[in-house]
Amino acid sequence: MTRPLRKILIANRGEIACRIIWTCKEMGIKTVAVHSTADRDSLHVLFADEHICIGPPPSAQSYLNIPAIISAAEIYNVDAIHPGYGFLAESAYFAEICEACNIKFIGPRSNVIQMMGDKVQARRAMQEAGVPILPGSENPLETEEEALKLAREIGFPVIVKAAAGGGGRGMRIVRSEEELGPALETASNEAAAAFKNGDVYIERYIERPRHIEIQVLADEHGECVHLGERECTIQRRHQKLLEEAPSPVLSPALRERMGAAAVAACKKIGYSSAGTFEFLLDEDESFYFMEMNTRIQVEHPVTEMVTLADIVRNQIRIAEGTPLAYTQDDVVIRGHSIECRINAEDPETFTPSPGTITAFNLPGGPGVRVDTAAYPGYKVPPYYDSMIAKVIVHAGTRELAIARMKRALEAMVVEGIKTTIPLHLKIMDDPNFRAGEFSTKFMEDFLKKNGTKKPVEIAASSR
């Protein structure tokens, strides 16, 4: 039973709002842009069919303002809302309100978002689905004694993590028994402050892991495929800097195992729409579930380049009730793709650099894609995240893709603000990166090697 979507409200801003508009235009679907007063001259407002101001600059009063967004959706009589990533994309509450207001939320059902958003519940669900999870506590820890007993079973090093959050907050690495007590306390306090929930759990800590994620597409009729993996190991303070597809270290057999695990999990939890399973990959090819992102991700373009899929288009078709367009055999990965996230930041100190872009030249030519909402004269606002563009390349091999990224970045001119383009150029020249040999420690080592003023610090219990 399909319900065609004729008009979609995009509850987001910046490059992803533009990205959604591009596909909607191709599909003949009308778009409604919502924006804060600071984004009145944004590209997504310019290119949407209709637009409406929903609040002042702060996100809480605009892009996170559910009544304003729903009111806008009703005024413009939209069929669906696409939440993009961030903001309300993983708000089970928002999805539920959309459902109650008979507006199709382009994503999974609210109860599935709810379940996968709770780390402890998600781990339990994955275990039941047969997905490997890191050895760790089943429930939030009650006492230090319980934690100690568990840590001995798991084996040190362990990591203490917040049940309700992520992004590095409420996390502490523990390498010995003495460190455990203080680590539990500080992590819990940090979690309570950041996420209003001081629950923590512990799990095995892998010293040199890789971050591999699997993209899935599931329709509303129980069918699911995976579109291969993305390598997202290069991170600074748990924020991804660049991503690639496929991973230089995944054999076809490993890809199949990880993909099959993700698909089985989707079917078990009744997932629909696009989603991503994040895994930690150990050096012995064992992989463990970390978390699931029940939305489209920033780095989705690299998957699109190597599979020729349009993930936004798939999300919309799935939301219309259409069965999946592919079987797993239809999914073919060709060539290699890399994406660099360009931020309005100092490339060495990473301090934000908002301001007006005075010159702006985007690279083109074979195998180059730029997803951006910036333009000459654009004033980068200080209220939102600092990413101004994603530069994506696709080529026949990883070597060719690296060369292509280098020349694309060299041709990208952004003046008036500082950007992280110089940093990405250095990474492209790094021997470890070029060899495909790195773990999540890469940026820490890289920044030390390249003599930055502030070495990267990762939270450890010894502090």
């Binding site: 001259d41 209709e50 409406i52 005024i75 654009y378």
Partner: protein, 230 residues
């Protein structure tokens, strides 16, 4: 449902037309300085004159600071034709400042700088406009207040997204009309959002001089609703 959309779109287009026909100065343009960058202005003796059409004050004139009437007329014409709200020129020991509030006056500054700055209120959303090329291209702005020759008004803007209603119910009298006097707690309209009727208060005192939106019109955050004359 298409009608509602169509009506809303038409209403918005109607509201746009006044602002498209008469250029409304953007914040960056309000401080028009004829005669180029500040460096070119000379300082010297100043003369004080009277208002346009007002009384001439008899002040001792310095020969070198005489401003020919023809030039003044040209300046006036320039000022009005371009819909400016403020204009300043300084040369040969003479500074002329034109300000539009409520009617254009010619005020020449005194050496002691006793000339009070021309103060007027601009609609709140003007401060927040970024004023780049992109905004010029996309004309689908919602209703904006009528341009500069209007008196300065305090503009009541919508604090939420919703549908604007003039009365508490379809058959009732409107909360306010043109000429109604309001106080800070006076309810001026209802904005309906998600089936909830939100009463919007004036939060100012004065007389309703302008109504910028129509009954049943969808409004966005920051949209001008009423102009209040203080």
């Amino acid at each position: 449902m298409n009608d509602q959309e169509g009506a809303a779109q038409t209403a918005r287009e109607e509201q746009q037309q006044p602002s498209q026909q008469t250029p409304r100065p953007q914040p960056e343009q309000q401080q028009q300085r004829a005669g180029g960058p500040r460096g070119e202005r000379e300082r010297g003796g100043r003369r004080r004159g009277g208002g346009g059409g007002g009384q001439q004050q008899n002040q001792p004139r310095r020969p070198e600071s005489h401003l020919p009437m023809e030039e003044l007329r040209d300046l006036f014409a320039l000022f009005t034709a371009h819909g400016l709200t403020e204009f300043e020129i300084e040369r040969e020991g003479m500074r002329v400042h034109l300000g539009r509030n409520p009617a254009p006056q010619v005020v020449a500054a005194q050496p002691q700088a006793m000339n009070a700055p021309v103060m007027y209120e601009v609609p709140p959303q003007a401060h927040e406009q970024q004023g780049s090329a992109a905004s010029a291209a996309k004309a689908a702005q919602p209703a904006t207040p009528a341009p500069a020759e209007e008196e300065s008004l305090h503009v009541i803007i919508s604090p939420i997204v919703g549908t604007f209603y003039r009365s508490p119910s379809p058959t009732a009298e409107p909360f306010v009309r043109l000429g109604s006097h309001v106080g800070p707690d006076s309810v001026v309209c209802i904005i309906e959002a998600m089936k909830l009727m939100n009463e919007i208060q004036a939060e100012t005192s004065g007389e309703i001089a302008k109504i910028y939106v129509e009954n049943g019109q969808p409004v966005e955050y920051g949209q001008p609703l009423f102009g209040v004359k203080k």
